[in-house]
Amino acid sequence: MLPIDAAAHSSRWRHRHPVDKAVLGLGLTVLAISLPPWPGAALVLVTALVVMLGPAGVPARRLWRAYRVPLGFCVTGALPLLVQVGAPDHFVALADGGPVRAGELLLRTSAASLGVLLLAFTTPMSDLLPRLVRAGVPAPVVDVALVTYRMSFLLLDSVRRIREAQAARLGHSTRAAEWRSLAGLGATAFVRAFDRAARLQDGLAGRGYDGTLRVLVPEARVSVRFTAAGAALLAALAALTFVLRSVLERPL
């Protein structure tokens, strides 16, 4: 199982309805990209961190391991904003206001990522996917996504084992061997995926498969109190942002 999904399955909010968590998590993300980065995104970032490490009980170490990936992209993507091309004196020069723009982008992106991570760290995909049908996603697409989701873990495990076996047979000792091993790995993943699908199909056909994959979805009800509290928090964040912004912009 992937680390984020494993954390979601053991989350304190595991049994809450996905809508409860989506309102809060995706709401924070929308606020992060809609509000002025300073102080809006900064407030969203702090709020998301407090909610995740506090009430949601997300382990800090796991959060950092997941969070550093988008953070790396943000840093790389923000670097070009520091320079400008085609200035009159120099072809490449430091951009006026570049550090501010890069800082704002970093703030906005890092805050928005945390909002999505809040949803991801508290909601397993197996809870989310079947409910997408009610959101209007065609059932066949959700079924394909469910099969993809469940088969991905098995395939990833197979790939890891095959890599270990290849390494034990000096499959990564030279550049040529590495390419051979990698090609074998890709081809074997394909063969295993289709073999598993064929066996699943045989098994389901024996059980009267009619084209619908019926899965048990854990019972959960939308909590009006939780959702209202989440919406109130979002509204308070937006209001606080505009109040702080007017205070910060006021001349001393």
Binding site: V69, T76, P80, S113, A120, F190
Partner: protein, 266 residues
């Protein structure tokens, strides 16, 4: 795109490795695009995804057993993007998998499978994002597969050998994905003095050093995988339409030879 250790939760990664992956992945991170751009790219991707969803739904209704094969294809696409790819320059990265996916499953299906894969990557691996899903879908699940598939079909029409067409299909799919991402970023963040062209130059040059060799690497890997598949999975490739059993008469009769499977253009 993503390291094996990240998926399995095993091993550790240095910041350098993370940056390297992130640079090579070219997923646009959550919140990176302004709201108007995020919405615009979602609108641009929507017709392709809807078209793919309709063809997938029709396929599943006609052949219910396709659900499992399509799910397996999605899982294969997801796992393919997790393989570590040795670059010809000596570094390593992860393939986009769009070229091989387009050749095997065709672009409309890849639009759906790519969207599902990107959604999983956003929620399970923190790669990409939900507000930037439209932009990432446009580059990785629409332009990449269509560009790669167009080159593949074009070369097949001129009777170029299968493996050469597969190489160029994967190469173009990989490169076009990165070009579109650079355009998306340049449109969102134009250069203060030179505007969009300057910004495009900046974003493209950051990734150009690594992406050209990586596109070559992905092309080579796709050829190697396809060579093995033509040896081990003729049945599946024939079912997917990549291979057609030899001996078919010109009139399209069902006279198909038992042996001599060969690759022909679809």
């Amino acid at each position: 795109m993503v390291p094996v250790s990240q998926e399995t939760g095993q091993g550790t990664s240095t910041i350098h490795e993370v940056l390297e992956r992130v640079c090579s992945a070219m997923h646009i991170a959550e919140g990176f695009l302004p709201p108007a751009h995020a919405i615009a790219w979602s609108v641009a991707s929507a017709p392709f995804v809807v078209h793919g969803v309709r063809s997938l739904t029709r396929e599943v209704k006609e052949h219910p057993e396709s659900t499992l094969l399509l799910g397996a294809s999605g899982a294969f696409t997801f796992v393919l993007s997790a393989l570590k790819l040795p670059s010809v320059t000596g570094s390593c990265s992860h393939p986009t998998g769009t070229g091989l996916g387009a050749v095997l499953f065709r672009p409309p299906v890849m639009a759906v499978l790519g969207t599902i894969t990107l959604l999983f990557q956003a929620l399970l691996l923190a790669h990409g994002g939900l507000t930037t899903l439209g932009a990432n879908v446009f580059s990785m699940a629409v332009v990449g597969p269509w560009a790669g598939y167009a080159v593949y079909r074009l070369l097949r029409r001129f009777d170029v050998p299968l493996m050469v067409t597969v190489f160029f299909g994967a190469f173009v799919a990989d490169l076009s994905t990165y070009c579109v991402t650079s355009v998306q970023l340049a449109l969102a963040f134009p250069d203060p003095s030179s505007g969009f062209p300057g910004a495009l130059g900046k974003f493209a040059s950051i990734f150009a050093v690594t992406q050209l060799p990586l596109a070559v690497s992905e092309g080579l890997l796709t050829v190697f995988v396809m060579r093995l598949l033509t040896q081990s999975s003729k049945g599946e490739l024939t079912r997917l339409g990549v291979l057609v059993t030899g001996g078919r008469t010109k009139g399209g009769a069902d006279a198909v030879a038992d042996t001599g499977t060969e690759a022909v253009a679809r």
